[in-house]
Symmetry: C2
Subunit: 165 residues, 2 copies
């Protein structure tokens, strides 16, 4: 069988990152970026939070949103190891973009209007890694989440360079 | 305005990870996991590869798939910094799951039947981080991609523990 038939129904469900302070992170991902908290679950030493954008126009119930956390695409899972938020010896998590620890790069959020989104982020005090005016790619920006993870802000269509039309 | 109105149309578009050898990674994500390569673009010192699952049942053209790379959800972006694949001094990328470099955790793929998927992965020689029989969560597995990034294999519905029904 081909991969196409053997992997039918496969989905890229979620991306997991660890966060120091879930209150700060959930505030950021819901109030700044507009995701919704689908569900959270507390284990003894850590809690998992599942967030995603609601594209249903409000048609989904809270139960349906929770049930979708392992079946839909575009889910962000935040892992909070209890205590990091108040531990003065905790030095924070690696963004993945510097040595040692380079590997993971970023997550990206598509927005209808990058300039309008960035103006709103600035008003809300978001930290920028790269404003639209900086660097060679003027159509995109990078902001930082509360842990310093990079979040690319992209329009729905990007031409990366010559020959990419 | 509420976040819901100001962030209407936002999507969690992609997750970017760096890879040492794009040939190995693309073979893994397409042949083992069943993703499709939507597009790639070569810059002077690095190349970007965009992959995703096709849920259209073959209805989308290659052009439409390429055009969706910055607008849809569930896209995986692989960054290949040229030369790493043949550089004996390159020590590899961090998975994000050990110190130093802890932060990013994993990506997750939803499959209709985890046991069947894992049997196929075993036949294809995939390295497991956690088989279904290991650990406390018997309904999921973790495999490793060619760079050692963790990939969670999950069913469409998971009960995390008591009270999570």
């Amino acid at each position: 069988m081909s991969a196409a038939s053997e992997t039918a129904g496969y989905r890229f469900n979620h991306t997991m990152i660890r966060v120091k302070d879930p209150q700060a992170s959930i505030k950021f991902y819901t109030e700044i970026l507009g995701m919704e908290l689908l569900s959270h679950y507390k284990f003894d030493s850590f809690t998992l939070y599942f967030l995603a954008f609601d594209h249903s126009g409000g048609a989904l119930t809270a139960r349906e949103k929770k049930d979708s956390r392992f079946s839909r695409e575009g889910v962000l899972e935040l892992t909070h190891n209890h205590g990091t938020e108040s531990d003065p010896s905790f030095s924070g998590y690696a963004s993945g973009n510097t040595d040692p620890g380079r590997g993971f790069g970023h997550i990206a959020i598509t927005v209808p209007d990058v300039a309008a989104a960035c103006e709103r982020f600035e008003r809300m005090g978001v930290t920028f890694k790269k404003k639209m005016s900086e660097g060679s790619m003027k159509t995109i920006a990078f902001i930082l989440d509360p842990d310093g993870y990079w979040i690319e802000i992209v329009p729905p269509s990007v031409v990366l360079g010559p020959g990419d039309e």
